[in-house]
C-alpha cells in the first residue's frame, strides 16, 4: 500500500491546492493543475482528474468558492477563489505540515545515524 514515490500523499493535495490558490489568486482547475506541475518541476505526478473531487471537498468545507467565468482563451471556465476561511485553514495546515515535516525529518536522521 506504500504510494509510489512522486504520488501525492493523501491529504496533502488539499494543502497544495489551497497554497496554489493563495499564490495565484482565482484560478480554474486546469490552471491549478499546470501550476502544481510547474512548481513541483514535474516531480509530483498528479492525476489531474483527482483535482476535481478535491476542489469539491474544499468548496463543501467553505475554504474555497467557485464562480463561472471566462478563461484567458475566451472559454467558459469555473474559477476557484480562496475564501477567508480557507486562508485561515491554509495557515493552520501549513504550520502543522511544517511541524510534521520537521518531526519526520528528525526521525529519519536519528534512525539513519
Amino acid at each position: 500500500m506504500t504510494p509510489p514515490s512522486g504520488e501525492v500523499l493523501q491529504g496533502t493535495l488539499d494543502l497544495i491546492v489551497l497554497k496554489t490558490l493563495d499564490a495565484m489568486g482565482p484560478q480554474h482547475g486546469y490552471g491549478i493543475a499546470v501550476r502544481i506541475q510547474q512548481v513541483s518541476e514535474d516531480l509530483l505526478k498528479l492525476n489531474q482528474g483527482t483535482l476535481y473531487p478535491a476542489l469539491l471537498r474544499l468548496e463543501q468545507r467553505g475554504w474555497i468558492s467557485s464562480k463561472w467565468g471566462v478563461s484567458e482563451n475566451n472559454r467558459k471556465a469555473k474559477f476557484y477563489t480562496l475564501t477567508r476561511l480557507g486562508r485561515r485553514q491554509l495557515a493552520t495546515e501549513t504550520e502543522s505540515w511544517e511541524r510534521m515535516a520537521a518531526v519526520i525529518q528528525r526521525l529519519i536522521r536519528t534512525q539513519g545515524a
Binding site: T50, Y52, P53, Q60, G62
Partner: protein
C-alpha cells in the same frame, strides 16, 4: 462547525437543491481536457496524439466523475433519491394499477381508522374521566326476584364505605330533574344529588370555583350548586363572575360554587347539588341512592366482589329475619363504562372485528396486486442483475417502491379518515352516540396500526420477487421470461391463498351484516303492545315546594288530563309514571308481592313485578290491548276497593291456567327510582286483579322480554309520584297539538315547565337508533369488503390470464374454442371463490356466535341467512371472474405465441 457545514451542503446537494448539474461538471472537465490537448499540440503533437495524451494525464475521466458525484451529496441518499425517482416513474408508467393499489390501501386504512376511532370514542371514554376503569357502581342482585337493586339505603351505603381495603372512595348519588327558573319560562334540567366526594373521586377538577365541601354535604347544610360547562354557557353566557351568584332550582335558591369542564356528563346531569345524606338514618328499606365507588389500584373485580359477597352474607345473618330481601342477595361492582355502554358493547365489538377484517382484506388485495406487478417485473430485474446490479441494490429498489406506495397510501388514508369521520359523526344522530361528537377524533393509534399493517404488507410482498430471484437462477428467469407454463407456481399459490382468505373474510363480514339485517327486520316487526302513531308524549315534574300533599299532586294530574282531553282533535289522554321505551334499564320501579291464599313456605319467597301508576285513560290512549276483565276506570277512586291491572307475562308466570282475574295480591318492598313511586314506606296494601292487558315494550332495549308488570290507579295512591309522563292521542299530526296543550296547562299552573316533548313515533325510532347505527356501519363495511374482495379476485384472475397467454394461445392453436377457454378461467375463479366461501362459512359459524347478544329472532348460525350471504358473495365473485374470462377468449394465438 466544519462538519455541520459539510453535512448541510451535502444534504442539500443530495436532494438536488444545489443544482450544480452533471452537465456543469462535464463542461468543466471537457474544458480541462481541451486545454491539456491544446498544450500538447503546442508541444508538437498531432491532434489525435494530443487528445490521447491529455486523457492519460488527466486519468480516468469516468472515475473522476463518479468520485465527484459520490462526494457531492450522500451516496446512500442520492441513491435512495434515485430509487424514489425511478420508483415514481414506474408507478406512473402503470398509473391505473398504482392508483388502484393506493386507493385500496387508502380506503382500507382510512375507513378502518374512521370507524375504529368512532368505536373507541364510544367504548373507552377515558377522555372524559381519568379513573373510568376503576370507577364502579355497587348494586345488589336479588336472584329470586331476578332484579338488580341499583338504589340502596343509607346504612347499606355506610357498610360498603367501610370496605376501605377495596375502595379508595365511596359516594352516593341520585339523578333528579329541576325546574330551573332563569329567564322567561321555567325549564327542566337534569341534575344529580351527589355526596361531596362523588365529584372529586372522578379526578376531574372544576374549571371555575371548587367542588363541594364536607360541611355542605350535611343535612341542613348550605344550599350550593355546581354547574356543567354547557349549562354555564347556555344559561349564564359563560359569565366569569358566576361564583357566588344564585340559581333557582325547584323554587329554591342555591349559591353557585363551581363550574365543571366541558363534557363532564356525570349521571347525565347539568347541575349538581350536595346530597346531604342523613348518616344517622337507620331505615334500611328506604333505598334512594346509587353507590359509586373507586376501586383501589391493583384490586381486581373478583377481589372486590368477594369482599362484597362477604358483606352480603353478614347482612343476611344480622337482618335476614326482618329484611327477607337480604337472604340471598349479593352485592357486586358494575363498572361505570359497562353501566353506560354495556348494552351496545357487542355491537361495537362486532364492528371492530369487521373493521379489522376490512384492513386485512385491503392488505391482502394490495399484496395480490403488488405480487402480480412485481412478478411481471422478474424479467426486468433479471436483466438488471445480469448487467451487474447487486442483490442489495435490487432489494433496495423494490423496497423503495413498495414503501413509496405505502407512504402515498398512508397519506391518502389519513385524508380519507379525516374526511370520513366527521361525515360519519354527522350522519349519526347525537343521541345514539355515547359520547360528545367533538370528542370523536381520528385515533392516532388506530391509524398507526392500520398504516403499519399496510406498510408491512407492502414491503413483504414488494420484496417477494427479489427473494424469489435470490432463490432461483436469474438466468432461468431470463430464459423463461419470468413466467411461462408452470413457471411462477409459488407466486400463483400464494395469490390463490390470499384470494381464498379474502373471500372467506368477506363472507364473515357479510354474514354478520346479513344477520344484523335479519334481526333488525324482525325487531321492526315486533309487537310493541301499543300503537305509537298519532301520539304525543311529554313530562311534567311537579316541584315539592308547591306540590306537597297527595290531593295537590293527584289533583294537578287529574285536572291536566281532563283539560287536555277537552281540546279539539284530542282523542284520548292519560298519565303514567315511567314512559315506555325511554329508559334503558328495567328496574325503574319494581315491587315485591305475594299472592293471597297461596302458601308461601318461606317469607322471603317474594315475587317481584314492575309497576306503573296510571290514570284511567292511559290504556286507551296508548292503544294497549285488553285481554281479559276491564281497564282501570274512574270508579277506581280513593275510596273504592284497591284494584290492579296486570300484564300477560305476569299471568303467564303466576297463573299459568289463566285464572288471574279476581285474585288478590299483597304488595311489599319497593325498588327503583324514587320519582317513579314517591313513597318508600307504602303500607302493605292488598289489590284485586281486575284486568289483563297485553305486554308492552317498556324499555329502549326492544329485544328484551317483558317483565311481569302491574298497573296501579293514580287515584288510589296515598303518596302519588310528582314526575309523570303524559300521553296524548290525536286525530291529526300530534305535534300540532303542542301549543294548545301548553296553553291548557298554563291555565292550571303557569309556572310549571313541560319537558321532553316527543312524538311516540320518534321515541320508537330512537329506541331503534343504536341498532340502526350498527346495521348502517356494518352494511357500509360489508359493501366495501364485498367490492374489495371482488377486486382481489378479479386482479388475481386477470393477472393469471395475462401470465397464461402463451398457454392459452397454444390451447387455442390446438383447437380449444372460446367457450373452453372461458370455462377454464371461470372454473379457476369459481374454485377460488367457492373454496373461500366454504372456509368463510365454517369461520362464520364460529365467529358470528360471538354476536348472538346483538341478534333478535335469528340465531347466529341461521343457515338461510348464511346461505344468502354466501350466494351474494359467490355471485359477485363470479361476476368479477367474467371479465378476465372474456379477455382470455379474445387472445389471438398467433400474437400470444409471438409475444414471447
Amino acid at each position: 462547525m466544519q462538519r455541520l457545514r459539510v453535512f448541510v451542503s451535502r444534504t442539500l446537494e443530495s436532494f438536488g437543491f444545489v443544482r450544480a448539474s452533471r452537465r456543469e461538471l462535464d463542461t468543466e472537465l471537457s474544458e480541462h481536457l481541451q486545454l491539456l490537448a491544446e498544450e500538447n499540440i503546442r508541444r508538437g503533437m498531432n491532434a489525435d496524439e494530443a487528445r490521447a495524451a491529455a486523457h492519460r494525464e488527466f486519468g480516468g475521466l469516468e472515475q473522476t466523475k463518479e468520485k465527484y458525484r459520490d462526494q457531492r451529496g450522500w451516496p446512500g441518499i442520492s441513491a435512495l433519491w434515485r430509487d424514489v425517482r425511478y420508483g415514481s416513474r414506474l408507478l406512473t408508467k402503470t398509473p391505473a394499477l398504482s392508483i388502484v393499489i393506493i386507493l385500496i390501501l387508502a380506503v382500507g386504512i382510512g375507513s378502518g381508522t374512521a370507524i375504529y376511532s368512532l368505536i373507541d370514542a364510544c367504548l373507552l371514554r377515558s377522555n372524559t374521566y381519568p379513573v373510568v376503569d376503576r370507577w364502579d357502581v355497587v348494586r345488589a342482585y336479588l336472584p329470586t326476584q331476578k332484579i338488580y337493586a341499583n338504589y340502596l339505603s343509607t346504612p347499606e351505603i355506610l357498610e360498603v364505605k367501610q370496605l376501605t381495603d377495596i375502595f379508595e372512595d365511596v359516594g352516593a348519588v341520585h339523578g333528579d330533574g329541576f325546574a330551573l327558573s332563569a329567564g322567561e319560562f321555567p325549564e327542566r334540567v337534569g341534575g344529580t344529588h351527589v355526596s361531596a366526594n362523588a365529584i372529586t373521586m372522578t379526578q376531574v377538577a372544576p374549571i371555575l370555583g371548587r367542588t363541594f365541601l364536607p360541611e355542605e354535604d350535611r343535612p341542613g347544610g348550605p344550599l350550593v350548586a355546581m354547574l356543567s360547562y354547557e349549562l354555564w354557557h347556555r344559561k349564564f353566557s359563560g359569565d366569569p363572575n358566576i361564583l357566588g351568584k344564585p340559581i333557582r332550582l325547584n323554587d329554591v335558591t342555591y349559591t353557585i360554587v363551581g363550574v365543571m369542564p366541558p363534557h363532564f356528563d356525570f349521571w347525565g346531569g347539568q347541575v349538581w347539588i350536595p346530597l346531604q345524606l342523613n348518616l344517622a338514618d337507620q331505615n334500611r328499606s328506604d333505598r334512594r341512592n346509587w353507590i359509586v365507588a373507586v376501586v383501589r389500584k391493583g384490586v381486581t373485580e373478583k377481589q372486590a366482589n368477594a369482599r362484597l359477597q362477604a358483606l352480603s352474607m353478614q347482612l343476611a345473618e344480622r337482618y335476614g329475619t326482618s329484611m327477607p330481601e337480604y337472604r340471598d342477595w349479593t352485592l357486586a361492582v358494575w363498572n361505570i363504562n359497562e353501566a353506560v355502554i354495556g348494552g351496545i358493547r357487542p355491537a361495537l365489538l362486532t364492528l371492530a372485528a369487521a373493521v379489522a377484517f376490512l384492513v386485512l382484506i385491503s392488505s391482502a388485495n394490495v399484496a395480490i396486486l403488488l405480487m402480480a406487478r412485481s412478478t411481471a417485473r422478474m424479467r426486468e430485474i433479471a436483466v438488471r442483475m445480469a448487467l451487474g446490479a447487486g442483490p442489495r441494490q435490487i432489494i433496495r429498489q423494490l423496497l423503495t417502491e413498495s414503501l413509496l406506495i405505502a407512504l402515498i397510501a398512508a397519506i391518502a388514508g389519513v385524508c380519507v379518515a379525516m374526511a370520513t369521520l366527521p361525515l360519519l359523526v354527522h350522519m349519526i344522530p347525537s343521541e345514539w352516540l355515547t359520547t360528545f361528537p367533538e370528542l370523536v377524533r381520528v385515533n392516532i393509534r388506530a391509524l398507526a396500526v392500520a398504516c403499519g399493517i399496510a406498510g408491512t404488507v407492502g414491503v413483504l410482498f414488494g420484496l417477494a420477487p427479489a427473494l424469489q430471484l435470490a432463490r432461483q437462477d436469474f438466468v432461468e428467469s431470463l430464459k423463461e421470461g419470468g413466467s411461462k407454463i408452470g413457471g411462477d407456481r409459488r407466486g400463483r399459490s400464494a395469490r390463490s391463498g390470499l384470494v381464498v382468505a379474502e373471500i372467506a373474510m368477506s363472507l364473515i363480514v357479510l354474514a354478520a351484516c346479513a344477520l344484523m339485517l335479519q334481526s333488525y327486520r324482525r325487531l321492526q316487526g315486533i309487537d310493541l303492545g301499543f300503537r305509537p302513531d298519532h301520539m304525543l308524549s311529554f313530562e311534567i315534574s311537579l316541584p315539592e315546594a308547591r306540590y306537597a300533599r297527595r290531593e295537590q299532586i293527584a289533583g294537578y294530574f287529574e285536572r291536566a288530563v281532563a283539560s287536555i282531553q277537552a281540546l279539539p282533535n284530542v282523542d284520548a289522554s292519560g298519565v303514567v309514571s315511567g314512559q315506555p321505551m325511554v329508559d334503558r334499564t328495567v328496574d325503574l320501579a319494581s315491587r315485591d308481592f305475594s299472592i293471597e291464599g297461596r302458601p308461601t313456605e318461606d317469607a322471603h319467597a317474594n315475587e317481584n313485578a314492575n309497576f306503573r301508576i296510571v290514570s284511567p285513560g292511559y290504556f286507551r290512549t296508548m292503544g294497549m290491548r285488553l285481554l281479559q276483565g276491564r281497564e282501570l276506570s274512574v270508579q277506581d277512586g280513593p275510596k273504592a276497593p284497591l284494584t290492579v291491572v296486570i300484564n300477560e307475562s305476569m299471568v303467564r308466570a303466576y297463573w299459568p291456567d289463566g285464572d288471574a282475574l279476581g285474585k288478590r295480591v299483597r304488595l311489599g318492598r319497593v325498588y327503583g327510582r324514587r320519582e317513579m313511586y314517591a313513597s318508600a314506606d307504602a303500607p302493605e296494601v292488598v289489590l284485586t286483579i281486575v284486568g289483563i292487558v297485553a305486554d308492552v315494550k317498556q324499555t329502549r332495549v326492544i329485544e328484551q322480554p317483558a317483565r311481569p308488570e302491574m298497573y296501579l290507579a293514580l287515584a288510589q295512591q296515598t303518596d302519588p309520584p310528582r314526575d309523570m309522563a303524559f300521553v296524548v292521542r290525536s286525530s291529526i299530526d300530534p305535534t300540532q297539538l303542542l301549543t294548545s296543550i301548553r296553553g291548557a296547562l298554563a291555565i292550571i299552573d303557569p309556572q310549571q315547565p313541560v319537558d321532553d316533548v316527543n312524538t311516540m313515533d320518534q321515541i320508537v325510532v330512537d329506541a331503534f337508533g343504536p341498532k340502526r347505527l350498527t346495521l348502517f356501519l356494518l352494511s357500509f363495511l360489508a359493501g366495501i369488503v364485498l367490492v374489495l374482495s371482488s377486486v382481489g379476485l378479479y386482479a388475481a384472475l386477470a393477472y393469471s390470464v395475462g401470465q397464461r397467454r402463451h398457454e392459452i394461445g397454444i390451447r387455442v392453436a390446438l383447437g380449444a374454442d372460446g367457450r373452453d377457454i372461458s370455462r377454464m378461467v371461470m372454473s379457476h375463479g369459481a374454485r377460488l371463490a367457492l373454496f373461500g366461501v366454504a372456509i368463510g362459512i365454517a369461520a362464520s359459524l364460529v365467529l358470528t356466535r360471538l354476536m348472538q347478544d346483538l341478534l333478535y329472532g335469528v340465531s347466529a348460525g341461521d343457515p338461510l341467512t348464511l346461505a344468502g350471504a354466501a350466494l351474494l358473495l359467490t355471485t359477485v365473485a363470479l361476476a368479477a371472474c367474467f371479465i378476465p374470462a372474456r379477455r382470455a377468449t379474445q387472445i389471438d394465438p398467433l400474437a400470444a405465441l409471438r409475444h414471447e
